[in-house]
């Protein structure tokens, strides 16, 4: 065990820090769940790519730096520390890309990764359907083979950022009459094709953060299939694994929130200390963020030594989503009657990134739901990690 950075890692941190200090937009961008904000966040992705910082772990050929996981964590820490904008192409870069690298053909990698790195193509995910939420194997959307095309019909829903995104990856039933996780195929498709209708859905904050997508005989070339026909379930599980495991929520995010929460508490001691539970919650927040960071480093080091992430990845999802709730509920308590106000609170009470404590509080309510609800994660932990009998 050696918990120190190497010289090159320390220099990398400084390089990232300096670059971000020079390039992070001074004015906060409008939310990427608005048309203008989406465009501005896309432009930010392009400028990140110019600095070769949009996907540091990717091979250089695709626009990355070939960095290891520790460098990735360093980059993320600096990123959150700098209050840079949220990543509008997160679904592409952190979830689809690792899957593409594992299951994609060379041609697919060449075709998709560079444009993902520059933000030219922003990705949305299409798993959920009206009848397939937690029970994803209940997918009914079909992809019927017709020569060298799939013809897609049906409906996806809750697709994050699909209102303005360019591409969608998701699972479709390619074998008529197949059941559950059999006969599903992983397809990549442009959202601007004829036959696609996108209906924005307003989230708690009133913005169209996700959308329903209707497919009416949408023709997609067979080369847009990822992996084999009918093998989509396992590939999707790999994506879900990356998501839960490491890449979806890097620790820097929670450490930054914890740090700002400590600050918020210290600036409002008079009100906050009227309820002694608040101080305790602030401390638990800091300890939680620290624990999450340590756990992520430990996982990264274990992966570097060839270990695989198993069902214990499900503990991650529960831990960070509950931590996020704790931190934001605590912030709202400290803000007291100011908490409900939509106007941004005066600096430095707000976390930055154009994000207010209220925005964060609302979004923290979604954490235990998306990426597999926490109840589903508990089922996985109980059955696959602890070995309890299936229901």
């Amino acid at each position: 065990m050696r918990l120190e950075y190497t010289g090159p890692q320390k220099r990398f941190r400084l390089e990232v820090r300096e670059w971000l200090a020079a390039h992070v937009p001074k004015a906060t961008l409008p939310s990427f769940d608005t048309e203008v904000g989406f465009a501005e966040h896309r432009a930010w992705e392009a400028s990140l790519a110019q600095g070769r910082f949009s996907a540091v772990t990717w091979p250089e050929a695709f626009g990355g730096r070939g960095c290891g996981l520790i460098e990735w964590l360093i980059f993320e820490e600096e990123y959150w520390r700098s209050s840079a904008p949220l990543r509008v192409n997160q679904n592409g870069i952190f979830l689809l890309a690792p899957t593409l690298m594992e299951f994609g053909t060379e041609a697919q990698k060449q075709r998709f990764l560079p444009k993902m790195a520059t933000g030219e193509e922003i990705w949305a995910q299409g798993w959920s359907e009206p009848g397939a939420g937690s029970d994803m194997a209940a997918i009914r959307c079909t992809a019927q083979r017709d020569g060298d095309h799939y013809v897609i019909n049906g409906q996806k829903t809750w697709s994050t950022r699909a209102v303005w995104a360019d591409w969608l990856f998701g699972l479709f039933r390619s074998e008529p009459g197949s059941q559950r996780h059999h006969g599903l195929t992983f397809v990549l498709l442009p959202l601007k094709l004829p036959g696609i209708t996108i209906r924005p859905i307003k989230q708690l904050n009133g913005l169209a953060g996700f959308a329903e997508i209707f497919f009416d005989n949408v023709r997609v070339p067979v080369e847009n299939r990822l992996g084999d026909e009918g093998a989509g379930w396992n590939i999707a599980m790999a994506t879900a694994g990356f998501e839960r495991g490491l890449m979806l929520r890097s620790p820097g995010r929670f450490q930054q929130t914890a740090k700002l929460l400590v600050k918020l508490y210290q600036q409002n001691r008079e009100r906050a200390d009227a309820d002694p539970a608040i101080r305790d919650a602030v401390m638990r927040s800091w300890m939680g963020a620290e624990a999450y960071t340590l756990a992520t480093y430990r996982t990264a080091c274990r992966l570097n030594k060839g270990a695989k992430i198993g069902a214990e990845a499900s503990t991650n999802k529960i831990f960070w989503s509950e931590l996020d709730l704790l931190m934001h509920e605590t912030a709202m308590q400290i803000l007291g009657p100011q908490g409900e106000l939509m106007a941004r609170s005066p600096e430095p009470a707000d976390p930055g990134n154009g994000y207010s404590w209220l925005d964060g509080f609302l979004f923290s309510q979604a954490g235990p739901i998306y990426a597999g609800t926490n109840e589903i994660q508990r089922n996985i932990i109980a059955e696959r990690m602890l070995g309890l009998p299936r229901a």
């Binding site: 930054q256 305790d280 602890l386």
Partner: protein, 351 residues
């Protein structure tokens, strides 16, 4: 950056685990704990054969000369198998303290080889603890007096036993008079040593609490997989599953905190105290939740003397408040994070 243990450290842990499964089976521990002393000379000899008493003792005194990081995985096992305080207090805490006493070579020559051989028990009385564990059987008792370090034997002092709900514990109130004869170290040098002993005492218990939490989850899982109601194992019911899964989450996120704390103590880093307190708090949380939820999974059986769960549960409750209770450790964390100019946030973890 390498946040993993060396193969040797894992191998040592595995060997100790294999040994304890057999030698510290619950029915054997129950038998030992029912005796007056609560300790078994035979088990101590076997533990010594495994090298467990010699870990900290320098090679020049007949030991193995390993450090806190080598100890930490073993301490988790000591928790998992509910090995009473005397072993860790002697072989980890007292051994460290004696080795680090300024100069007194005769004392080191007298005690360190005996610790390594498993033929001495040493108790440590730190003011953070109300009572002194295993004082009566101890060949030597190391005591705090205004930051000085004193060494006495059981015959020099008046011991009044205090019975704990944890049948493995042997706790004593101690009345004694410090004198020049008993003094081993001045307050000036003792203050720092006591501080380090406190950190090691709390670190050891954090590890043991983590082991206890894991043991209680395992007992809960075993029971819930066997006990049938409504025609199926109760462990198939989600309400039971989710309670045990919640403990698994706490355990998973205590491990790295504990291991980092051990690293900080081993390397004598500036922030060792706060890392230890964080680890103790996290492990205590995990163990208390494990106790509650494993008991619930057992139904009425969990409320009995007969089910083994009680042995581990009571130990967890007791150790949670030993070597600094929650208030004590929270205060140390608070002092660090609420200090002016405290370095918090992304990038601060390993600096």
């Amino acid at each position: 950056m390498d946040f993993t243990f060396a193969e040797q450290q894992i191998a040592f842990r595995d060997a100790v685990r294999k040994f304890l499964i057999i030698e510290a089976a619950p029915e054997m521990l129950r038998e030992i704990w029912e005796t007056k002393s609560g300790r078994s000379r035979e088990l101590r000899c076997k533990l010594a054969d495994q090298g467990l008493t010699a870990i900290s003792v320098p090679e020049t005194y007949g030991g193995i000369g390993l450090g806190d990081l080598d100890w930490i995985l073993l301490q988790v096992e000591l928790g998992y198998y509910a090995i009473p305080d005397s072993l860790s207090d002697t072989a980890y805490l007292a051994s460290w303290l004696l080795e680090h006493l300024p100069a007194d070579l005769a004392l080191k020559r007298e005690w360190l080889p005996r610790i390594a051989a498993g033929t001495a028990r040493i108790a440590v009385g730190h003011p953070v603890n109300l009572l002194v564990a295993d004082a009566e059987l101890a060949d030597l008792i190391l005591l705090w007096h205004d930051d000085e370090i004193h060494g006495v034997t059981a015959s020099d002092v008046k011991l009044t036993p205090q019975v704990s709900i944890d049948a493995s514990r042997r706790l004593y109130a101690i009345e004694w008079s410090p004198s020049a004869r008993t003094r081993l170290c001045s307050a000036k040098q003792g203050a720092g040593l006591w501080q380090q002993v406190l950190n090691r005492g709390a670190l050891a218990l954090a590890a043991q609490l983590l082991g206890l939490a894991q043991r209680m989850v395992d007992l809960g899982v075993d029971y819930a997989a066997q006990r049938k109601q409504f025609g199926k194992p109760v462990g198939a019911f989600q309400a039971v599953k989710h309670q045990l899964a919640d403990v698994a989450v706490k355990i998973e996120f205590t491990k790295p905190v504990l291991f980092r704390a051990a690293y900080a103590v081993d390397r004598d880093l500036d922030d060792a105290a706060i890392q230890v307190s964080h680890a103790k708090l996290a492990a205590g949380d995990a163990a208390r939740l494990a106790a509650r939820n494993a008991l619930q999974a057992h139904g009425a059986m969990g409320y009995t003397w007969e089910a083994d769960l009680q042995m581990f549960m009571k130990r967890a409750w007791a150790l949670d408040a030993a070597w600094g209770d929650r208030g004590f450790h929270k205060q140390r964390v608070a002092d660090a994070i609420f200090a002016d100019g405290a370095e918090l946030g992304p990038g601060s973890t390993f600096n």
